[in-house]
Amino acid sequence: MSLFNVFQVSSSAMTAQAMRLNTVASNLANADSVVSSDGKPYKAKHVVFEATPMGNNGEISKGVRVRQVVEDAAPPRMVYDPKNPAADEKGYVSFPNVNVVEEMTNMISASRSYQTNVEVMNTAKTMMLRTLQIGQG
C-alpha cells in the first residue's frame, strides 16, 4: 500500500518544520544575548531544507530533511551604550543579528506548513479508510 509513503513524507516535513520552529524559538529567546558560549554575541541560526527520496518509490515520493543549520552572516547590531560592561572602546555594544520581524514571519510560515502537512496526512488517512470500506454494506 503505497499510501503509507504519504505518512513518511508528511511526517518528515513536520519534523523539519518543527526544527525550523525550534531555531526561531532560540533566535527570539537570544535576541538580546550579548554574550554567548563562545564569548561573542549570539548569531541567528537558520535551517536549510533538502528534498530527499523517501519510501520505495524514487522520484514519486520525496520527503524533507534538514541538511544543515547555518548561522546568519549579517553583521551584529551595534548599539551605543558606554555604560554597558560589554561595550568596546568606542562605547558600542554588539547585539545579536537577530531580525525579530523576520523570525516572526518565519514562525508563522513554519506553523502553517506544519498544519498543511497534518491535513495531507488526514486526507491520506481518509482515503485509506475509504479503501477499507469497499464492499461493506
Binding site: 503505497s2 504519504v6 513524507v9 518528515s12 520525496k62 513554519a110 502537512n117 495531507v120 486526507t123 482515503m127
Partner: protein
C-alpha cells in the same frame, strides 16, 4: 463475468494512479519550503490511457527488444505517466515552484476522485450481491 473483472481492472488501476498522484502532491506540499525544489505532477488521463492501452495506444512508440540483454525502453516510467514539472505562476527568490493553493486544490480533487472510485467499486459489488440474493427466497 469477463466484463465484470475487466471493470474491476480499470477501477483498481485508477485507484492505483490516484494513490500515486497523492504521493506526488504530498511530496510537493512537504517540500513547499525547500529551496530549489520544483513542483511535480502527472496528468491522470494520459497516465490512465498509458496504463490501459499500453504506450503504443497512448501515442508513444515502444522499443523492440531483439536480444535478452536489452533494457525495456519504458523502464523509467513504469509506474504512472511521466512526471512533469508544474508551470510556475509566481517565481520565488529561492527557486521553489510550489504554489500551496494549487497543490491543496489538487490534493482535495484527487482525494474526492479516489472516493468516487471506491464508491463505484462498492456499487458494483452491491449489484452483484443483489443479483445473488434475489434467487434465495
Amino acid at each position: 463475468m469477463a466484463d465484470f473483472s475487466q471493470h474491476f481492472a480499470v477501477l483498481s488501476k485508477a485507484l492505483d494512479l490516484r494513490t500515486q498522484r497523492h504521493q506526488v502532491l504530498a511530496s510537493n506540499i512537504a517540500n513547499a519550503d525547500t529551496p530549489g525544489f520544483k513542483s511535480r505532477d502527472f496528468e491522470f488521463a494520459t497516465a490512465m490511457q498509458n496504463a490501459m492501452g499500453g504506450n503504443a495506444a497512448g501515442g508513444g512508440v515502444g522499443m523492440a527488444r531483439t536480444a535478452s540483454g536489452h533494457l525495456s525502453g519504458d523502464a523509467g516510467m513504469a509506474g504512472p505517466g511521466a512526471l512533469q514539472f508544474r508551470s510556475e505562476t509566481q517565481s520565488a527568490a529561492d527557486g521553489n515552484t510550489v504554489d500551496m493553493d494549487v497543490e491543496r486544490a489538487q490534493i482535495t480533487d484527487n482525494a474526492l476522485q479516489y472516493q468516487i472510485i471506491t464508491q463505484l467499486i462498492s456499487n458494483r459489488l452491491q449489484g452483484l450481491r443483489t443479483a445473488m440474493s434475489s434467487t434465495q427466497s
